[in-house]
């Protein structure tokens, strides 16, 4: 082997160059963002717990949280995502490929807003195939069911005015439980729903303004 140490130094310099270009320089810029800058997302305590449930449930392997500037992505949000959207977050949940839809703007999806929005989200988590994940799609969802985020209960144990009474009965029927039993969202499902509903791309940024055509 000719000049092995030249080779080693070359490899180290090459890696150092890539580090400087890809990590150090961008970190100087994006790592210094503070709350004084344009940072759209600041999660509250429950939403942070929901984010942890999102990671534990492996959601990020199917769902991205990045809207690119391509036409194909325009349906996922009114603007594309930028580094500011993730400033200060530990291990942003960008995802690397989409098997399911992008969730960057899920909190503004018509199906999951309004009075029934939260219940629809629970139904999606429980049996997405039947409930369809996103509006405007004719395809059945492939999303695996997440029974582990729900607690099995006897329907008679729920108070008549319990907000989950109807949902528990419906989920029980879907899962094929015997008469009188159902599922209600566990605490983990509730905080996960909190987190998912907080995902919104509704703040226009200087570096990524909301496009008017998308708003319409």
């Amino acid at each position: 082997m000719n000049h092995p140490f030249v080779l080693l130094i070359g490899a180290i310099l090459s890696i150092g160059l890539s580090w400087n270009t890809l990590i150090v320089n961008p970190q100087k810029h994006f790592g210094q963002l503070t709350t004084q800058d344009e940072i759209p997302k600041v999660l509250n305590g429950q939403q942070k717990q929901g984010r942890q449930v999102y990671a534990e449930s492996g959601c990020v392997k199917c769902h991205t949280q990045q809207v690119r500037y391509f036409e194909q992505d325009s349906k996922y949000g009114p603007r594309f995502t930028v580094a500011n959207d993730f400033a200060g977050q530990d291990k942003p949940l960008l995802g690397s490929h989409r098997i399911g839809p992008d969730l960057s703007n899920l909190g503004n999806n018509g199906k999951y807003t309004g009075g029934d929005g939260r219940m629809n989200l629970y139904k999606t988590l429980f049996h997405a195939k039947e409930s369809q994940v996103m509006e405007g799609s004719s395809l059945a969802s492939l999303m695996p069911r997440h029974y582990f985020l729900f607690d099995k209960v006897e329907l008679s144990s729920l108070a008549p005015d319990n907000e989950y009474s109807e949902l528990a009965r419906e989920l029980g029927e879907t899962a094929g439980l015997e008469e009188g039993h159902g599922y209600i969202p566990s605490y983990r499902a509730e905080v996960l729903a909190d987190y998912l509903m907080s995902l919104k791309l509704d703040q226009s940024l200087f570096v990524a303004p909301i496009q008017e055509s998308s708003e319409e």
Partner: protein, 453 residues
């Protein structure tokens, strides 16, 4: 006459297989089967959505992450170590035995990886590609990798054969993992970096492992075979040298893609750099194919299906990756399962299985895997490639989501891959056992032979 002499072939490659390499291969094959099995289980959940729905740690995302981790750290890296150590030992014509320091490293590597996989089951994943292992486990893997590779790095540095370029490829291949995992793990877990830069680190790290380390390793083995063949004439080492530097200078810059939230010149430079390894490979394979197609039967090893399979696969993978990175294709192919498919099946499934057959050269002195075996792997991989292309197109049409037809194809692909690769593993393992690990010739024996001649 020794057994080694009996098995000497026209290729010039003599049977030789250190026990340490077998140990590494056995570990790698074990993790390959685990990774494919868990991945298959994950794919089943796409069809039977209620499967294991009550068990939190058996959800699709966790299973997929465990599968990728097992394939990368269990199979890919151990296979690379095994291949490099085999070639290094053969270059030195030494008898390293079990290699106690390296063996301890391999043992510790597998223990740590098991711990890391259990941690993924418990803690879940943040989707940082190939960096789901905790910081402490990653650091442990870096240290154990040094145990495995440093004795062989020392041998390469002390070799004084200036006429060969293969040792340069082997040296870099052995050192890439500790060189990128140590800073990568540090910056990700303990340097206080937050935000999208953490994703940049994982993208850079995963890209380097797949599209820089694997081509370097496979090209190193190919060049090794060329240089070991005494019948090869007119082989210039300037092209492999240029290719090596091309990959070194450009290969480490890749990882980002069009639309990644960093943007700007950094993104553009990273995207453009994926062409460097592709160009590097094209140059070197022109030489290799030129040698293999001379219609000279003396180049028996070079002119084989396995070598063409590996060489063609590397070129195909790197070229497709480079083409898919173009902005005009990025909107359609980016973020689909196209790239993961490219990585998982071409590089893991096919090319490294091809490397197993190369190891058979060391065991049996020939290169003639059964036609059924070749066909099963070839056929399976072609289906994979076609299915991922279909998925990318169909997925794009349906909002970048997999559709039912695509799923059916993927299901068939999963079954085909698992079957074909399992058959390949069993065959390669049987070949290894039959090889009986013949002892290598010592340098003194070589010298006495030369003197007699």
């Amino acid at each position: 006459m020794t057994m080694t002499e009996n098995k000497s072939t026209s290729s010039g490659i003599q049977p030789y297989m250190p026990p340490l390499v077998l140990f590494l291969w056995a570990s790698a094959l074990k993790w390959l089967l685990i990774g494919l099995g868990v991945g298959f289980l994950a794919s089943l959940k796409m069809h039977a959505t209620a499967l294991f729905a009550n068990i939190s740690f058996l959800n699709y995302g966790i299973l997929q992450e465990v599968s990728e981790t097992a394939l990368v750290y269990g199979f890919l890296l151990q296979a690379v170590f095994a291949g490099c150590i085999w070639a290094t030992a053969k270059l030195g014509n030494e008898a390293p035995g079990l290699g106690h320091v390296s063996s301890i490293g391999v043992f510790a590597w597998n223990i740590l990886l098991t711990v890391g996989v259990i941690q993924i089951f418990i803690n879940g994943t943040y989707g940082l590609k190939f960096m789901a292992l905790s910081g402490s486990v990653l650091l442990g893997l870096v240290i154990t990798s040094l145990f495995i590779v440093l004795p062989w790095v020392g041998r390469l540095l002390n070799s004084h054969d200036d006429n060969k370029i293969a040792p340069s490829y082997l040296l870099i291949s052995l050192l890439v993992f500790p060189m990128i995992a140590l800073p990568g793990g540090h910056f990700l877990h303990s340097a206080g970096i937050t935000g999208v830069i953490q994703n940049v680190i994982s993208q850079w790290y995963s890209h380097t492992l797949i599209f820089t380390l694997v081509p370097l390793f496979l090209m190193g083995i190919l060049i090794f075979l060329v240089e070991e063949d005494p019948t090869v004439k007119g082989y210039s080492k300037s092209v492999p040298t240029a290719s090596l530097w091309c990959i070194l200078l450009g290969g480490f810059l890749g990882g980002l893609y069009h639309g990644f939230p960093v943007g700007g010149a950094v993104n553009a430079l990273s995207v453009a750099s994926v062409w460097f390894p592709a160009f590097g490979c094209v140059a070197i394979f022109l030489v290799l194919f030129g040698l293999a197609n001379t219609n000279d039967n003396s180049h028996s090893v070079l002119n084989t299906f396995g070598l063409k399979w590996i060489a063609g696969g590397v070129m195909l993978a790197l070229s497709l990756n480079a083409i898919a990175s173009l902005e005009s294709f990025a909107g359609s192919f980016g973020l689909t399962t196209f790239k993961p498919g490219l990585e998982q099946y071409i590089l893991f499934g096919s090319l490294l299985m091809g490397a197993i057959f190369l190891i058979r050269v060391g065991i049996k002195g020939d290169f003639k895997p059964s036609a059924i075996l070749c066909f099963s792997i070839y056929f399976g991989s072609l289906i994979c490639l076609a299915s991922y292309a279909i998925e990318a197109i169909a997925g794009n049409a349906s909002g970048l989501r997999m559709n039912v037809a695509g799923l059916l194809v993927l299901f068939i692909v999963s079954v085909t891959q698992v079957l074909s690769i399992t058959v390949a593993c069993i065959t390669a393992s049987l070949g290894a056992i039959k090889g009986c690990c013949p002892a290598p010739q010592s340098k003194s024996v070589e010298k006495s032979k030369l003197a007699n001649a």
